[in-house]
Every structure is written in C-alpha cells, then in structure tokens.
C-alpha cells in the first residue's frame, strides 16, 4: 500500500507543479463561480483538466521521458491507478473549494 500511496503523492505533485494544470483548472473554477450549472458537470471538468495536464506531463514533457520510465519499469497499471486516485482527490478538493466560494 505504501508504494501505491507514494505514487499517488508523485502524481499529485506532478499536477500541482504543472503550469498547464493551473491554466486549465483556474478558468474552470471561475466559470463554476459564475455559472450555476449542474455540480457533477463541474467535477467532471476538473477531472478532465487534470487528466489533460497529467497526460501532457507524462507523454510530452522531456520528450516523453516519464512515459519511457513508466514503460521501462513495467509500472503502467499501477501508475494509471495511482494517477486516477490522484486526479479524483485533487478534483474533489477543487470541487469543494469552488462550492465554498459560491
């Protein structure tokens, strides 16, 4: 369980230090504040923003270096699982923050 938690922490850190994630997540936060649309739709938007940012980090940053390392270590499944958990946790945090702001 500990290695999985460490990988989750790695994904969270990759996301919160990603400029792209902030570029995508902040507008979603602002729109959610201004438009009172369905709550779960916004949650999905946060998840999508995170997924795009993490995908770009893994596949494109440093010439796909991180993807190469994941593939090399044979850690595709565990990384996907930990990335999923990290995405849900971060999106939930943003969702709660945006709800509190309204």
């Amino acid at each position: 369980m500990k290695p999985f938690a460490r990988l989750c922490a790695m994904c969270v850190r990759l996301l919160v230090t990603s400029p792209l994630w902030w570029v995508l997540a902040v507008p979603v936060l602002v729109w959610r504040w201004r438009h009172p649309a369905g709550g779960w739709l916004w949650f999905l938007a946060f998840v999508l923003a995170g997924a795009v940012a993490l995908g770009v980090t893994v596949l494109l940053e440093a010439g796909g270096g991180l993807y190469g390392r994941i593939h090399l270590a044979g850690a595709e499944r565990v990384f996907l699982a930990s990335a999923g958990v990290a995405l849900l946790v971060l999106s939930l945090v943003l969702f709660v923050v945006s709800a509190a702001l309204r």
Binding site: P3, G63, G64, G65, G68, L72
Partner: protein
Amino acid sequence: MASPIILEVRGLSAPPLLRGEFSFILREGDRLGVYGHSGSGKSVLLRALMRLMPYRGEVVWHVARSSVGYASQRPRLIPRASVLQQILWCAQLHGVSLSPHGSRIHELLEQWGLQPRRQQAVHRLSVGEQVRLEMCCAMATASRLLVVDGLLEQMDERTRATFWEEVDARCARRELAVIFATHSAREAEMADRVLILHEGRPLAIDTPDRLRALAEEQTVQLRSVQARLKRGDKQEEVQVTLHRRPTMEDVLHTLLQREGLP
C-alpha cells in the same frame, strides 16, 4: 558453475536500422560493451533490448523489468522536479524503497556529486550534472541489470572512475550485470566481453583479449625526431619505432577488411 542467466537474445533485428541478427546471453556479473562508430546502431540495439521499439527475434528477460536501470543517451528528466524528487520518483516507479532522509539516497547523491544540488530544479542543472543525475537514477533502480547508452563519453574522468568503481564492486559480488554502448575504444575494453557492430550488423562478440588477437600488433614510426650533435651544427634524423597493443578500433578495422566492408 555458471552464473544465472539474466538476458537471452536470439536472432534480434530491427530493420532498417538493425539489419543483422544479434544473439547472445548475459549472465549475472557480466559486463558487456557494445562498440561501434556513431550511427552503427548501438542505441537502437539497446532500445530494442529494453523493448522501447519494435523488433524481430527473441529477447527473453529472466529478471523483473523493474530491476533494470536504464540510462539513456539523452537524459529523460522532468525539468521542474528537484534533483531529490527525480531520484525518488524513478525509485518509486521501479518499486525501490528510498526514503528522502535515508542513508542510501545520501550515499547516491554524494557518489554522483549532487549533494549540494539536491533541492535544485533539474532545468537549472548544467548538462554534465544532468548526465550525472540520469546515471544516479539508473544506479538507484538497477538491482539486477544496468543498461547505459553512450553516457560514459559525456562524463568527466572523475565521474567515470566513480561509475567503474561502483560497477566493478557490484559485478564482482555478482549483484549486477551491465550492458553499455560506447564509441570509445578505451571504454569498450573495460568490459568482460565486447560486441562490435557496424552499420547495424554484428561483426564479433568476444573478450577484449581474444578480439585483440584478431588484429596485428600496430607499429608507429616517428621520423621527425631531430637531435643536435654536440660538435658542429649537423642535425641527424632519428627513427623511432613504437609497438602498441591493438585497440578495439584496430580490431574493427581488421574485421571490416576481412568482411570486405568499407
């Protein structure tokens, strides 16, 4: 008794870059050097071995892939991560337990001269430091096999000495096997066996001594040594002939001549 097999390669090729068929076995504690000129297919061979590109033939791993450390010719580092994070992330992906405050991480940082830079972002490191970090990550994750693709030439003498010290000690204890690609004849001779390739084809694979036996002893004549005689202003030309051991470059030339290749 022979050491356990780590990797078996049978009839490996990856056209159009790797046209020949490569077959060899790597055992625990082995150091295999892949030697050839630039563009001969060394990196392609290593990438095919690591299953990072499509290939034909058989590559059988007898160890878990997570126990293999790979140092790429172009360091694949996350620019915004710190040096410490980069090493920890690599270790985590390979399932290696490294604590940021543990002795192993400090040992690695000291060994590769990265201790003063541990909190620095990767993009702020010099090229040499990035090379050392790539090697450090590979060393941290290589518990059974280390694959180094052309990074040795990019290291300074001191870092290379550190690398060989660590590799020699771990190979002697049969903890680790190493495959490294190089275009330096001197570096290739550090291996127990050398695989010589040319234009994507294997020319020979053997111990450095046996390969050297294929090439003739080299003689170099120095003609321009001039000595001033004590009396008078006469100058005399002295011829000096040096005999030197054949290098891997000489072996490569001999093999190319035998095969009738340019």
